[in-house]
Symmetry: C2
Subunit: 213 residues, 2 copies
């Protein structure tokens, strides 16, 4: 990705842009949900959905009956964004307030995965992103599951990250006796809660004990 | 908003749709970041940004030099999405896994706020969404701050929420001896961290003590 195409260059704070593959991957691997945008007759639509990254692609899934999936699987260009909010940046002036974030923007067109083995594989990656090491414990994935689901892949060739870290940038206000700093934001998993109608008495499997993070 | 226009009716799980204004407002008031999508030459672009709701509008801000702001302020139609992720829904089969979420989709065109008083007011709402009751403590908002910032408002007339809550839906798997349930996801503010270069020794103001949530 050299030179960087203009649509991957932020107009504001270009220094916050990051094209390093490992940086992009780490953001995509931490986030659980992305927003997929597409346009029909120059009108934008966007949908939040679960995703998983594997190698240099991300994968989303949806019902074969989903309007959204059926629109974009025709080969529409999409823009996919992922955002992790890390802190509220509190400055001495409202104007210098900001947020610390790690975001990724991806431009691409969908590749529809038709091969059953590849579809199942993508479903496994997606499931284990949300619940690591759970695939072999679950009721086996079957032909009906596969038939009802569309899997779309998007290359990460046109992806960029934008990141803000650290403290507020103060300039002419720096000597004012006003508190500044950050308020970190934490997202974490809490202890699993059992579904009492069908799973009462069934022990929590080992991959779910200790999922607090 | 009656009848519901087709672009606000989900093709999947239409029962999860919610058009109740208070439901939509409560999601918008809890989320700090939205994703704004627009199209140029039928190609989608999307950008995560901070926002605030006041009455039946949401407000975003940006630098007057921002490419994104300058594109959409021309009056481009936008689609704005907000997503809160509440839980991972763990079923007995991978196929029935899901997530609990509360999302809002808004279709609209920007109204550029030119009046200085209204701009300052929107800036106050935005600042106090992130740090409640902080406006009067901060270095006063000034003419330069106002001149450098564009504020865009979007009506919530065409907004809808989509919500999933509760436990996994099991059907033919319900008697399998496999654990099912949910893993709640919590997003919370941690204790503020002082910027030591310009704010060492300045006491945390009352509106920031006890911001843990």
């Amino acid at each position: 990705m050299n030179p960087i195409p203009p649509h991957l260059t932020p107009s504001r704070y270009p220094k916050r842009a990051d094209y390093d593959q490992q940086t992009i991957y780490s953001i995509l691997d931490e986030a659980l949900v992305c927003t997929v945008s597409f346009a029909v007759d120059n009108k934008p639509f966007s949908i939040p959905t679960a995703f998983v990254r594997h190698e240099n692609k991300i994968y989303i899934h949806g019902s074969v009956g989903s309007h959204f999936i059926r629109e974009i699987e025709k080969g529409l260009p999409v823009c996919i964004t992922v955002t992790l909010l890390d802190a509220i940046v509190v400055a001495k002036s409202a104007f210098n307030h900001s947020v610390n974030y790690r975001s990724v923007v991806i431009f691409g067109t969908p590749e529809k995965i038709e091969d059953t083995t590849r579809k199942t594989q993508a479903f496994k990656w997606l499931t284990e992103k949300f619940v690591p090491n759970s695939w072999d414990y679950l009721r086996p994935f079957n032909e009906s599951d596969n038939r009802k689901t569309t899997i779309l892949a998007f290359s990460l060739d046109e992806a960029s990250a934008k990141i803000r870290t650290g403290m507020p940038g103060e300039d002419e206000n720096k000597d004012l006796p006003i508190w500044s700093g950050i308020i970190p934001i934490e997202t974490r998993r809490l202890a699993p809660i059992t579904e009492e109608e069908c799973s009462a008495g069934i022990p929590l499997p080992p991959h779910l004990t200790g999922t607090m993070m």
